[in-house]
Subunit: 283 residues, 2 copies
């Protein structure tokens, strides 16, 4: 296939590299020529430009910009791309993107390749980043079958695990397992910093070890990215926080009323439930 990529960050450049390795021809667009040059030098793309005009004759255009730029980028690209080019994105939220994007371009299909890398930029790009990782496609009723077929093939070429879901299903699922953890984890750090006794705070900082480190990791991540999750997945994340608070309240209530059997029962439930979410890695 002929593939165009807009945005040569860690996701865009990594996708490009894998697809080029699978035998596709890949052209890239970045705001900076130096990024295009680096992407060519590293073998991620065949040709690159700062100009959208390069994006002709494509089977698929993949928009790999930050979430807030996806729709404006789509609107600008449709002036230059061929009418039959399938367009997709890699945004981590789908409902806020897919409905308006499909209005702009009927052969748009939402996509979310999940790499789970914290670092960004072309320097963080690498081959094989999506192997064994989920790649969610979120077609609508109106999405052309050809769009699903092409993206399915491209996901296979990455050795990714393909899933199909409605945009709202995707957004609710990632609210639970990706966006809610960020807010829960950030509030943990935030709460600890509220300790007014400086000797207790100092001791807490000294004693914190692997448990705190793991629980606080995603809450100490990129603030802009966390804000974007909340902004573009607002309804699902607010639902998730509301249910989260109910569960925390139930646990707090059990603790404050000395219902130790109930506290144990809650923690047995969570111990039993976790393995359904945390898979043993495939060797």
């Amino acid at each position: 296939m002929n593939i165009g990529i807009i945005g040569l960050g860690s996701i865009g450049a990594s996708l490009a590299g894998d697809w080029r390795q699978a035998g596709h021809v890949v052209v890239g667009v970045s705001r900076r020529q130096s990024t295009c040059d680096l992407a060519i030098e590293r073998g991620f793309i065949d040709r690159g430009s700062t100009d959208l005009e390069i994006l002709t004759g494509l089977d698929v255009l993949v928009i790999c910009t930050p979430i807030a730029d996806i729709l404006p980028t789509l609107a600008r690209s449709i002036a230059v791309i061929d009418p039959e080019t399938i367009v997709t994105d890699v945004g981590s939220v789908k409902e806020a993107i897919v409905a308006p994007a499909t209005k702009i371009r009927s052969n748009f299909i939402g996509g979310h390749p999940m790499a789970g890398k914290a670092t960004s930029g072309i320097e963080a790009a690498e081959l094989g980043m999506f192997a064994g990782k989920p790649y969610v496609l979120t077609p609508l009723e109106s999405t052309p079958q050809r769009a699903i077929d092409l993206l399915t093939q491209l996901a296979i070429d990455l050795n990714a695990r393909l899933d199909l879901a409605a945009p709202t299903e995707h957004d609710r699922a990632v609210a639970w397992i990706s966006h809610l953890p960020v807010m829960v984890s950030a509030s943990l750090i935030d709460a600890c910093t509220q300790e007014q006794d400086r000797s207790v705070l100092g001791l807490a900082q000294k004693l914190a070890s692997s448990g705190f480190k793991d629980t606080s990791r995603v809450g100490g991540g990129n603030p802009e990215l966390g804000m974007m999750m909340a902004r573009y997945n607002q309804a699902a994340i607010l639902d998730a926080i509301a249910i989260y608070r109910q569960q925390l309240d139930r646990l707090e209530q059990a603790i404050s009323t000395n219902q130790w059997a109930e506290v144990t029962a809650i923690l047995e439930h969570t111990q039993n439930a976790r393995p359904d979410f945390v898979k043993v890695p495939i060797p």
Copy 2:
């Protein structure tokens, strides 16, 4: 020194092994003779018995039972140990232990060697488990200097990082960085299991990756241990949960009212604050 250990689980047997290696004579008491035999075979202790009568001529007695058994074990041991033997414990909460223990035995000193291991039992014991890890002592005004001096030496023999704190300071610090994370993390798992749409729940389980895995780890741990933390550190953990909820409410409020600059500011604060708790390991 002559050291006695009651409870040859992962903490007790590991302490015994390190201290024996440092040149001390260590005798151990376990409920099962087979555990004593294994501890001798592995070189953790010099002699072992199921009978407390073995605990004579000691400089220090270290009670390494689960939290709930510390005070009853202390009460039973004082009938057999020498009057001058210093007694300490390894419980992860201190206020609930130190005050009553000191009433039973004036030369008691609270201690908390923090290994951060999830597994338990003598099979999980190993040498060097406490090297570079915190060892908190919680002396009272009335605690004999000799108790502080002996335990300081024993912490040095483990290559542990010694900290002195009041029992309440210790308990508030561990509430923040150890006990609150368990409750926060457990409620995250619990909330996710409340999803009523089976296809969304299934997708969430498929898509969960490193972010969810880390944030949920301590909430999926030993239920009995989590309950004991709450039970014996009830006041501090309830305070911590209350402040945690305020911070979560503030974040939720900012999200629900579209205050994106405020959401970003909160996440910048947590990104900046986390390194004060999460140290780069000393090479």
